[in-house]
């Protein structure tokens, strides 16, 4: 994942690399993910999220749909 000045810069970056536009969202949404994802790392009982837990975190930030589902890689925690 990368940060860009604007959606126009995302479009340019994807075009130069022949990539399709992926998911674009706000730093506020990324912060909503980052807090639960990393906020407990200094606690002894921290554990990596299961795919279901990770998808719930994405959903809490308004990130839903197939792009945010772990699908065939569900056997491994993200």
């Amino acid at each position: 994942m990368l940060l860009f000045r604007s959606e126009e810069h995302v479009r340019r970056w994807c075009e130069m690399r022949g990539l399709s536009r992926g998911a674009v969202f706000t730093p506020e949404q990324l912060w909503t993910i980052a807090k639960p994802w990393h906020g407990r790392r200094l606690e002894r009982d921290w554990q990596r999220f299961t795919p279901d837990e990770a998808e719930a975190v994405f959903e809490s930030a308004g990130l839903t749909g197939a792009f945010w589902q772990f699908g065939i890689s569900r056997g491994q925690s993200p």
Binding site: F4, R5, P27, R41, P78
Partner: protein
């Protein structure tokens, strides 16, 4: 000693001084043999909790912290600086430390400086946007390019 002890020791040393502890130093700090500490480093690596420099047991990443300089610098309001592995991790460092801070990085397209400011538990409004090129189901194929 548990793997959690080793994980926490690595994180705390990175936070305190920006340098990841070597296996021998971790063993001494936790009162275990170097071989026991090495085995813990290997298990944490196998579980993708830390990333080592190839062919060594030198820590490159202990999420959300990077042990080497990156373009994603976290400047906490207490004056300390840290490196994140990506912008997500950089924000995660601020969340993990539970204080205010800024993430200084650049636009991936034009390299213009960009700053994300976290104050009072919220990100200040910005025109910047986040882009994921790869859907979640494929992140583990190449965790560096997502």
């Amino acid at each position: 000693m548990t793997d959690a002890d080793v994980r926490l020791h690595i994180l705390r040393e990175l936070i305190a001084g920006g340098v990841a502890p070597r296996v021998g130093d971790t063993g001494k700090a936790l009162g275990v043999s170097e071989s026991d500490a090495a085995a813990a480093y290997d298990r944490l690596t196998a579980n993708r909790v830390i990333v080592l420099r190839p062919g060594t047991r030198d820590v490159l990443m202990a999420a959300p912290l990077s042990a080497v300089p990156t373009p994603h610098v976290v400047r906490m309001t207490d004056g300390r600086s840290h490196y994140g592995n990506c912008v997500w991790d950089a924000l995660g460092i601020i969340a993990m430390l539970g204080r205010d801070g800024d993430v200084e990085t650049v636009c991936a397209d034009c390299q213009a400086p960009l700053t994300l400011t976290v104050r009072g538990g919220a990100v200040a409004p910005t025109d910047a946007v986040v882009h994921f090129a790869v859907p979640a189901a494929r992140w583990l194929e190449d965790i560096v390019f997502t």
